[in-house]
């Protein structure tokens, strides 16, 4: 509710000069409104002046200014790697500082930061509520961005006194802290700093290791090392080559003595084999306790590329199954390395060791999202070859639908043709979980499931929403044909606290049983505390062959695992206890596979050659290919070459062998395989080895051109790729077009733009703001023809956080100086810091009210101004005023939301004003009514007097008649003789008396006055003259008759 007593400020006070118009308008209005009666005119002028004043005030942008004594303190906690040991100390500091809080209305918030800033506690009353050790983990601690934390803080403050308490070592390596501090100061925010002190006086770190970019097989690679030490010390340098420790002698610097400052070393490593060579140098101090405090900065990495023999990586889920293929390739002199996909980590640098990679019946869930991207980049950006062979867990049946790998492959994992396949149906049951961002993870996994199922499958999502009735299909069970629309619905889901599984699972069972799906599966994600499903639902699921897997997610022991485990066991599903929500997508990809078994077709068939591509060289047209026992159903892509198909009875062609160029690389899909089950006839085929050797060789990456020299270097947060190009005569190649990309550690791709900076010399820069490997790929083409690509890269082995050996006190003090904050030296002495002292300048909160003035003052005043001039009745005007005032008080000032007596007071005020105005019209009305009664009474009296007079006259006439007939007759005759007696005056009481009586009544009743109707009077006066003329006519007629008779007699006498 607004209070009228609050002070007001104006943002644009110049507009207030318009107030000078008020007296001018008042003067003009006196003349223009001269026609109105005085009171109405005065009211209109006052309203008009107020209207102009309010208009001027609105234009001046009035603001309500309110002072508050409340305080909001936001603690900024540095969680970067450089101060990771001090996290607990910082938490203790916040708790201790909150103990000193004296005002219950003060608010406390907390933001932690490293590379990014995260709000952990909204500013709220009651102190700091996050228990020690309960802070959720955050990502990307390899950088510090204090400015981001300050920026987020400034968005969190309310209209109170504002204080930021920054706990940090000040070693910001992302953005400009002081600019943000200045912004804070401009907003009246004070930043107190609690420095996190450290000084690593006994520290050694490996500043860098440099290896030549390109080396030859058999070379001795010179590695140059630069070690920095704060004091003289000794230790050992371990060199690892492709993950294996290189044995070195004493002379080869296995043991080193370091002086204070930089210490360069070099060592030569022999190279055997091709591909990228990864080197790692690690310094091991003799006395780690004494000589080295940060272990993370004791190593560096570098890599070189060796142009050598091509190799192929065969990733297999079941190596026994794929041994025939590996042996066939080896028999064709192809160097194959077969690896169980469940062993070891595959990253982009690993992949660069190989010219082609074969995914032999490998499901998608063995790889992380980053690895999916790496496989895609390997083909598209780095020119590698990728071959996928079929099986029960390959292609769409292996969860690859929606993956970046599916984009690369020459067949569409979705089945496009109309042939009815066995469908799958998946129902997801989502229960809100008490984990940070629980609903976020719920929607993410649901979307992941949508991505990985086929468009021919059904999917639906059930959760408890708070609509009446509770459980609903938030995504109705439907075919996943429009995945984008389904994902949009998922994003709109509001996942509520589900009371029981029974209702939800029963709905899911009903839905699934209503589909024609052959595979029906349910996935439940929950903390397990809803009531378990009834035995009947479980029985229905078993009878309906509906499997159910459950995922238990929550904090610690919060998950009620019994319930979830039982559901999974009874229905043939799997229970996944999940403590890390990041693993959820992989679980869902794996589980979603259950419904994709419909994509597997296990009818034996003889493949048909559709197109004699180069991969089928040696296969003759009339040659019958061996039978295959099955395949994974896919659809051909338009741009791909489908060399081999399965002809169905309905004429549909299912791709068996397809291939295409994908970006810089090549991809091959062989939808059958599964050699122990489907492809044993092929294994025994004489052309098996040759055919597969052709397929693999076609897909292999082209070797790098020899006339390019490429290397990288890094400086601060920028990396640089340098290319020197010469032709075979060592002449510089100028004006080359070098399309290139760099693949960053997070598997994002950044284009590189080369500039020629010298003869045959090209440079391109890129950001180095992540820890890990950066792989750059430069394509080479001549005369428009792609001639291969050359790779290089650099490695950022550890975060710059570990280079900082001392707290950046200067920066932190500058922050304090900029914002007028305080410096708190000791992080362990929160009690004396008085963090919650109310010594900040009074905080004024400004609230713009021009719109309120416009709505609730200007418009009502305008209405009243028009009303007072146009409405003739004061009564009507008073009603308008009353309505306006009630609306203004109740809704404009918000009294309607107040207590009952405030509402009553508003109505009374409006009524008083209304009645005050009405009083002006009511008095005349009362006067009128009272005056009428008086006048009517007087008129009655006068009428009585007139009647009395009339009666007197009549009595007089009557008595005169009784006095004697003779005298009377004589008088009548005399009167007749005079001929002037007016018969109308026989009962006349006197003209004056009658006229007075009529006049009074006319005045009082508003009737027509007798004297105002002259014509009627004349007509009345004319009546006697008419009678006289009639008498004259009779005489005339008599005379004329006499004359006529006399004339007739005279004529008859003759």
């Amino acid at each position: 509710m607004l209070a009228l007593t609050l002070p007001v400020a104006f943002e644009q006070p110049l507009w207030l000069w318009l107030l000078l118009l008020v007296p001018v308008i008042a003067t003009i209005s006196v003349r223009t409104l001269a026609g109105l009666e005085p009171l109405r005119r005065a009211t209109a002028i006052v309203l008009r002046c107020v209207l102009v004043a309010v208009l001027a005030a609105c234009l001046a942008e009035p603001m309500f200014v309110r002072s508050t004594d409340k305080l909001t303190v936001l603690f900024l906690m540095d969680r970067s790697d450089s101060v990771k040991e001090l996290q607990e100390t910082q938490e203790e500091y916040i708790h201790a500082a909150c103990e000193t809080m004296k005002h219950a209305d003060d608010r406390v918030g907390m933001i932690d930061f490293a590379r990014n800033a995260y709000l952990q506690q909204l500013p709220m009353k009651g102190g700091y509520h996050i228990q020690p050790g309960r802070l959720p983990d955050i990502d990307n601690r390899d950088r510090t961005d204090i400015a981001a934390a300050i920026r987020l803080s400034l968005a969190m403050f309310e209209d109170t006194a504002k204080r930021i308490v920054l706990m940090s070592d000040g070693n910001d390596n992302m953005s400009d802290v002081l600019t943000e501090a200045a912004a804070a100061q401009a907003q009246g925010v004070s930043i107190d700093v609690v420095p996190l002190w450290y000084e690593h006086r006994n520290e050694v770190y490996v500043d860098r290791m440099v290896a030549p970019t390109n080396v030859e097989d058999g070379d001795m690679v010179p590695l140059r090392l630069l070690l920095h030490s704060e004091r003289p010390t000794s230790g050992r340098i371990d060199i690892y080559h492709n993950g294996r420790l290189v044995k070195m002698t004493e002379e080869e610097y296995a043991r080193v003595r370091l002086e204070a400052g930089n210490n360069p070393f070099s060592v030569k490593i022999p190279i055997r084999g091709g591909g990228p060579q990864r080197f790692e140098a690690r310094f091991v101090p003799d006395d780690p306790q004494r000589d080295d405090s940060i272990e993370e900065n004791n190593y560096a990495t570098a890599f070189s590329f060796v142009a050598g023999k091509s190799r192929v990586l065969l990733l297999s889920k079941d190596t026994a199954e794929d041994t025939p293929l590996a042996e066939a390739l080896q028999s064709e002199k192809i160097d194959v390395e077969m690896r169980d996909v469940s062993e070891g980590h595959v990253d982009l640098l690993d992949l660069l060791n190989y010219s082609a990679v074969i995914l032999a019946n490998v499901p998608a869930n063995y790889f992380t999202d980053e690895q999916h991207k790496a496989l895609s980049h390997y083909v598209v950006s780095l020119g590698g070859g990728l071959i996928m062979t079929g099986g029960d867990e390959a292609f769409g049946a292996g969860g690859w639908i929606g993956s970046p790998v599916a984009e690369v492959m020459p067949v569409d994992f979705e089945v496009k043709h109309k042939r009815v396949l066995l469908r799958g149906a998946l129902a997801l049951i989502m229960h809100s979980c008490e984990i940070p961002r629980g609903n976020y993870w719920g929607t993410e996994v649901a979307k992941k499931s949508v991505d990985t199922i086929s468009s021919k499958d059904y999917i639906g999502v059930l959760c408890y929403s708070f609509s009446p009735g509770g459980v609903n299909w938030e995504v109705p069970l439907q075919l996943a044909t429009n995945k984008a629309a389904i994902k949009k619905r998922i994003e709109r889901m509001s996942i509520g606290d589900m009371p029981d599984f029974d209702t939800t699972m029963r709905m899911a069972v009903t839905g699934l049983m209503g589909t024609d799906a052959a595979q029906k599966h349910m996935i439940v994600i929950s903390d397990g505390d809803p009531s378990p499903p009834s035995p009947r639902v479980i029985r229905d699921m078993v009878n309906g062959k509906i499997t159910c897997s459950t995922v238990g997610i929550g904090f610690g022991s919060h998950v009620v695992e019994d319930t979830l485990d039982k559901i999974a066991k009874k229905t043939g599903g799997t229970y996944y206890p999940c403590r890390n929500p990041r693993l959820l997508p992989q679980i869902f990809v794996k589980e979603s596979k259950v419904v994709r078994r419909s994509l597997i077709s296990e009818d034996p068939f003889t493949p048909q050659v559709e197109y004699f591509s180069e991969l089928l060289a040696g296969v003759t047209r009339d040659e019958a290919l061996p039978m295959l026992g099955g395949l994974v159903v896919t659809s051909p892509k338009a741009e791909a070459q489908t060399a081999m198909v399965r002809m169905s009875t309905d004429g549909t062609k299912d791709p068996v062998l397809a291939h295409w160029q994908a970006g810089l690389g090549k991809a091959v899909a062989f939808t059958s395989g599964y050699w122990g089950h489907w492809g044993y006839s092929w294994v025994n085929w004489t052309k098996y080895s040759k055919l597969w050797a052709q397929i693999v060789r076609w897909s292999m990456r082209q070797e790098s051109p020899a006339n390019l020299d490429i290397f990288t270097r890094v400086s601060g947060n920028r990396g640089r790729v340098v290319v020197d190009a010469v032709d075979k005569d060592a002449a510089a190649l100028n004006l080359l077009d070098l399309p290139a990309v760099v693949i960053r550690p997070d598997q994002t791709v950044q284009p590189l733009v080369f500039s020629q900076t010298g003869p045959g010399h090209y440079e391109a820069d890129f950001d180095v703001d992540q820890t890990g490997q950066y792989i750059a790929n430069v394509s080479v083409s001549e005369h428009g023809q792609h001639k291969g690509a050359i790779q290089t890269g650099l490695s950022v082995p550890f975060s710059p956080e570990f280079r900082e050996l001392v707290t950046n006190e200067a920066l932190l003090r500058k922050v304090v100086e900029t914002t007028g904050g305080r410096w708190h030296e000791d992080v362990r002495d929160a009690e004396s810091h008085d963090i919650f002292s109310h010594d900040l300048p009074p905080t004024l909160s400004k609230q713009p009210v021009w719109d309120w003035c416009l709505s609730w003052l200007l418009l009502p005043l305008f209405l009243m101004d028009v009303s007072v001039r146009r409405l003739a009745s004061w009564l009507a005007f008073s009603l308008v005023c009353e309505a306006v005032i009630i609306v203004l008080l109740l809704f404009g000032l918000g009294l309607i939301y107040g207590r009952w007596w405030e509402i009553a007071a508003a109505i009374i005020v409006a009524e008083l004003i209304g009645w005050a105005i009405r009083f002006r019209s009511i008095i005349p009305l009362v006067d009128y009514l009272t005056h009428s009664v008086t006048v009517l009474g007087a008129a009655g009296e006068r009428s009585s007097a007139s009647l009395g007079q009339l009666k007197g006259v009549r009595e007089q006439v009557r008595s005169e008649r009784k006095e004697g007939d003779v005298g009377g007759a004589r008088r009548i005759e005399a009167e007749a003789a005079v001929g002037s007696v007016d018969k109308t005056r026989r009962f006349d009481v006197g003209d004056e008396a009658a006229r007075d009586s009529v006049k009074d009544l006319t005045d009082d009743l508003g009737l027509i006055r007798p004297d105002s109707v002259q014509d009627g009077g004349k007509e009345a006066a004319a009546e006697p003259r008419s009678t006289e003329s009639e008498a004259e006519d009779a005489t005339s007629r008599l005379l004329r008759a006499k004359r006529r008779a006399r004339r007739d007699l005279e004529q008859g006498g003759e």
């Binding site: 708070f466 509520g496 610690g556 039982k566 209405l863 309607i896 939301y897």
Partner: protein, 304 residues
């Protein structure tokens, strides 16, 4: 004049109808307190409520705090449950001898405190056997001091305990009136010393004598009057009616003891007089009704 009448009419119409006045008197809300937060007098998803004989209101929320308010909703004191990592309480009940019984649900026990939060006793531990609990939801105490505790999640039952916290018997478990008991979410004992149970996931109300003999059962799932959707709390009112707090229908409903619906109050929403996923309601000594409006993080006080 005629030209002016149209804008005047429109203005008055907009002014009177454009703003939605909260029907403070129509819906009977006389006060509301709380709000989202962790400060004193604020709530983080409140889930249970009780009122003592002096009118003090106790609310337990999902931050595992118990807060005491005056009858007018003014914060007085608060305290935290001994542990909260595994989960938070969903049931609380005050009895006339001044003790507060809290169903510490996720720790499978009942904690007894005085009105200031000082722990007096605790009993029960995780398990499915007699004398053990699996997610207890509510506590009631009869005139003799016997204690009744409801549980769910695979051990859906109501058990009876002596006043010195010794297990006596199972009042009800398994098949009751044709359906297995499923999440008995709340208990209350009326002036006739019979036990009323809100059988939440069966959307019905059960009445037992104190030895476990079923006296009556009524209710079905639905949104209509007389039907219920997840009754999470039940209160025997001083006027003899049974008040049911419906989590799923976002409302309170009063029934006669024969199951006839007498009154419905509330609907889903954020305004006063509206509820969003209410978990509990109770009656104060002066006849006021206090309802925990969980997702709105407040308590509404109503007079009907």
């Amino acid at each position: 004049m005629r030209a002016l009448s149209i804008p005047v009419a429109l203005f008055l119409l907009a002014a009177s109808g454009g703003c939605e006045p909260p029907a403070l008197t129509d819906n009977g809300v006389i006060a509301s307190f709380g709000g989202i937060g962790m400060g004193e007098g604020e709530f983080s998803y409140p889930r249970a409520i009780t009122v003592d004989r002096n009118g003090h209101v106790y609310v337990v929320d999902k931050s595992a705090r118990v807060q005491r308010f005056s009858a007018e909703g003014v914060y007085e004191i608060g305290w935290a449950m001994p542990e909260k990592t595994a989960g938070k309480p969903v049931g609380i009940n005050f009895i006339t001898d001044g003790r507060l019984f809290i169903a510490d649900t996720h720790y499978h026990r009942v904690i007894v405190t005085d009105s200031g939060g000082v722990e007096l006793a605790r009993f029960g531990h995780k398990g499915y056997a007699d004398g053990e609990f699996q997610l207890p939801t509510d506590v009631a105490v009869d005139a003799q001091g016997n204690i009744y505790v409801s549980e769910y999640n695979g051990n859906d039952r109501v058990t009876k305990w002596s006043s010195d916290f010794k297990f006596i018997k199972v009042i009800c478990q398994g098949e009751v009136a044709g359906r297995p008991l499923l999440r008995p979410a709340a208990l209350d004992i009326d002036d006739e010393q019979t036990l009323w149970v809100a059988d939440a996931c069966n959307h019905r109300v059960l009445r037992f004598d104190l030895e476990g003999k079923l006296l009556t059962a009524w209710g079905e799932m639905g949104r209509e009057r007389g039907q219920m959707c997840y009754p999470y709390d039940i209160t025997c009112m001083s006027d003899g009616t049974i008040m049911v707090c419906e989590y799923g229908n976002h409302r309170l409903q009063w029934f006669g003891r024969d199951g006839e619906s007498r009154r419905v109050w509330g609907e889903r929403g954020r305004q006063l007089g509206q509820l969003w996923a209410p978990w509990g309601a109770t009656e104060g000594p002066d006849g006021l009704v206090y309802v925990v409006d969980s997702l709105n993080a407040r308590v509404q006080i109503i007079r009907l």
